[in-house]
């Protein structure tokens, strides 16, 4: 029941504020409360090389690049230090199986931390 209901509640709350796309593996806390899934290229690890001189998106010229926004907000918003430290981490590929599910449930069950068996990260992340 909760599994069916929560995605609706989550979407109703997060869509108006963050334009949430229900990827089911929310990383808002680490991206200055800016949703990377709203990037037309859905980039999870920073901006592409096509950002315009005025900081706007290559694809949607009238929209500020979400990674420019994320960077500004990470610096300026009073977010917890640990969240800010997560900004530079190498985020794994999106798990398409989680599309449409509640990231709240996936957070609690740690399902959103599951990565493919081969995935590993090297070096300092922060």
């Amino acid at each position: 029941m909760l599994k069916k209901l929560l995605p609706f509640v989550e979407h109703a709350l997060k869509a108006p504020v963050w334009d949430c796309r229900m990827c089911g593996q929310c990383v808002l806390h680490s991206t200055g409360m800016t949703c990377p899934m709203t990037c037309p290229k859905t980039l999870r690890n920073g901006p592409c090389g096509g950002v315009r001189e005025n900081g706007n998106c290559e694809v949607i010229p009238e929209m500020q690049c979400i990674w420019v926004k994320a960077y500004d907000r990470t610096i300026s918003l009073p977010l917890p230090k640990v969240w800010k430290e997560h900004y530079n981490e190498l985020r794994p590929p999106v798990d398409m199986q989680l599309q449409g599910t509640s990231s709240w449930i996936n957070l609690v069950t740690k399902r959103d931390q599951q990565v493919p068996d081969g995935w590993s990260v090297q070096g300092s992340e922060h």
């Binding site: 290229k41 315009r52 290559e58 690049c65 190498l90 493919p116």
Partner: protein, 298 residues
């Protein structure tokens, strides 16, 4: 072993790379002709992957053809057209044919090309693609399935030193370095100050990340305007535009400008070579290389 890796990792030689012209018909003869033209000047040349979101002969087959004619490829893979399965099979295909230099990049959006109605893929991003290539080089696919023996890759990436958010570009380059990139070809940059800040910032943290800035040979003010207006992420300062426009011979002035940018780039920390994009195709490449003090390899 790749000449590019040998030179960058085991010598202090400056390397020169270029773009291989897209193949649209013309057959192997055209590949042979272009390989012969580029081989005297370049250590390795990029086999592009549908550049500017235009369909062309595929990255892998172009790289194989280049290799057949003695030109060392840097095979590019962009994230726009293929999902993670196809990208891993591109990498394995490259390895099967002895292609070791890979460059992983995001790719221009489909709207930059001539088929804007196409579905954009971006299943993974460039940092993830580099990390996956590194993992494959250690003997397994992303799924964990083993690859024996592991493919031998020399990994590169691309970064735009001159696009916002400027400070963050350094961190993004370092993220790619941590993922496994050993060299970075930098996007064309008409802001020497931004390039300098970027190279210094990167070299401070990762002195062994090899930086290869790009200069481009254009014909004059019109070409420069095209770069500014049409190529995503490229900005030509108004003063630079004015300098070329108001020159008595803009074609000579733009060459002078390119030479200045190239010489400046080569003085920067971490810089180990130059990537040269030739949009002129009129023989000025030889002149430019001579002006840089180079002579063709025999």
């Amino acid at each position: 072993m790749s000449v590019l890796r040998e030179k960058l990792e085991n010598t202090n030689d400056v390397v020169f790379t270029a773009e291989f012209p897209s193949v649209d018909g013309g057959g192997m003869v055209s590949v042979e002709r272009n390989a012969a033209r580029l081989a005297p000047w370049f250590d390795a040349v990029n086999a592009t992957d549908n550049p500017a979101a235009h369909a062309h002969t595929s990255n892998t087959t172009t790289a194989i053809a280049m290799k057949m004619f003695g030109l060392e490829p840097i095979m590019q893979i962009v994230c726009r057209d293929k999902n993670r399965l196809a990208i891993q099979s591109d990498m394995m295909g490259a390895s099967l044919h002895g292609i070791t230099n890979l460059s992983l990049l995001t790719g221009d959006d489909v709207t930059a090309g001539d088929e804007p109605e196409a579905r954009r893929v971006f299943d993974i991003d460039s940092a993830q693609a580099i990390n996956i290539a590194r993992i494959m080089g250690e003997g397994k696919y992303l799924s964990g399935r083993s690859i024996t023996p592991a493919p031998d890759f020399y990994l590169g990436a691309v970064e735009n030193a001159a696009a916002p958010p400027f400070d963050y570009r350094i961190q993004r380059a370092l993220k790619k370095y941590r993922a496994g990139a050993r060299f970075l070809q930098l996007q064309i940059c008409y802001h020497p100050d931004r390039l300098e800040a970027f190279c210094k910032g990167v070299a401070e943290v990762a002195p062994d990340l090899k930086l290869i800035p790009t200069v481009v040979l254009v014909k004059g003010a019109k070409g420069l305007g095209f770069m500014n207006d049409k190529v995503p992420g490229i900005d030509v300062p108004a003063s630079t535009m004015a300098r070329v426009q108001s020159a008595s011979d803009p074609s000579v002035e733009v060459n002078k400008l390119t030479l200045e940018l190239a010489r400046h780039a080569l003085t920067l920390p971490g810089v180990r070579g130059l990537h040269i994009t030739d949009f002129r195709h009129d023989g000025s490449l030889d002149l430019f290389m001579n002006d840089l003090g180079l002579t063709p390899k025999s």
